[in-house]
Point group: C2
Chain length 169, copies 2
């Protein structure tokens, strides 16, 4: 079964229109980098290996993806514009539909780094086919979804993992 | 916010009408005991502390609860008949409604040891108000649900944790 890991970016600098007039440039804090590195190390210890790592174009997400890549969890991250806040899930679905569903490791494993509330809503769409905002996804938290082997994935996927960052440190 | 941890019993002996004419007597295997102990140790390392530990009356669940208790996660387990397979959630709701929602540790934390598909269905009822069987709960897996501070809990709770046992070893 293909697996999708939805990973929220780590702790970033506070929103501040004077320091960061463009919110997309807001970086991870030093503590955010450190914590995200620890989490990436733990994910690697758990045996995770992603065949694809897509990231939101926002700096805080790209930095998070780089940390995952540097922990040898994945190949080079690929910037995916639709992972920006409020991006259209349909773009990702189109990408996914053309993707081979197996890799050298077996069933394909995909990680995406993005934002809340998008990631939780997206997981809910995959699992329940509708959004109710009932999944709690903290910064650097992870959601693991099993996608069906074929056919429609919206409303047909299952949840196998949801983890707050404090349980990955 | 009160927290509810739904914990599935560990790996038990195979169903066998000759060895275990009464399925309720089926115990954990030696490997199941060992693995469940490792998981209990990990839960304690993560800082979990349950104010109440309720268990299904079936032997495999009671053994699992004893292991959690022995790892200093909880007071003595309390046998709760409605946690047997297909038991009525209403009995637990009635118990919960009379329970003080705070403890010496702050908001009350309750763990229940039971069976599938009941635990996953019950979590779905708390979170989404309906059952869709989309949560994967392996043996010795854990679901963590935040219950609202007051009022109705069915369909009003949130999911903060769902973990397969392999990520707790």
């Amino acid at each position: 079964m293909p697996q999708l890991y939805l990973i929220r970016h780590g702790i970033a600098a506070d929103r501040n229109p004077q320091t960061y007039p463009d919110d997309r440039q807001r970086p991870l804090t030093d503590a955010g980098v450190k914590k995200t590195r620890k989490i990436a190390k733990r994910l690697a210890e758990l045996g995770l290996q992603f065949d694809h790592l897509l990231t939101s174009p926002l700096i805080r997400a790209q930095q998070t993806a780089d940390i995952l890549h540097n922990a040898k969890l994945s190949p080079q991250p690929e910037i995916f514009p639709a992972l920006a806040p409020c991006g259209p899930i349909q773009d990702w679905l189109n990408w996914y539909n053309t993707l081979p569903k197996t890799s050298k490791n077996g069933d394909v494993a995909i990680a995406v780094v993005g934002h809340e509330p998008d990631l939780g809503q997206w997981a809910e769409q995959l699992i329940w086919g509708e959004v109710r905002e009932k999944l709690i996804v903290k910064k650097a938290g992870v959601i693991g979804v099993n996608l069906p082997d074929d056919g429609e994935i919206i409303g047909q996927s299952t949840l196998f993992w949801l983890v707050p960052p404090r349980f990955l440190l």
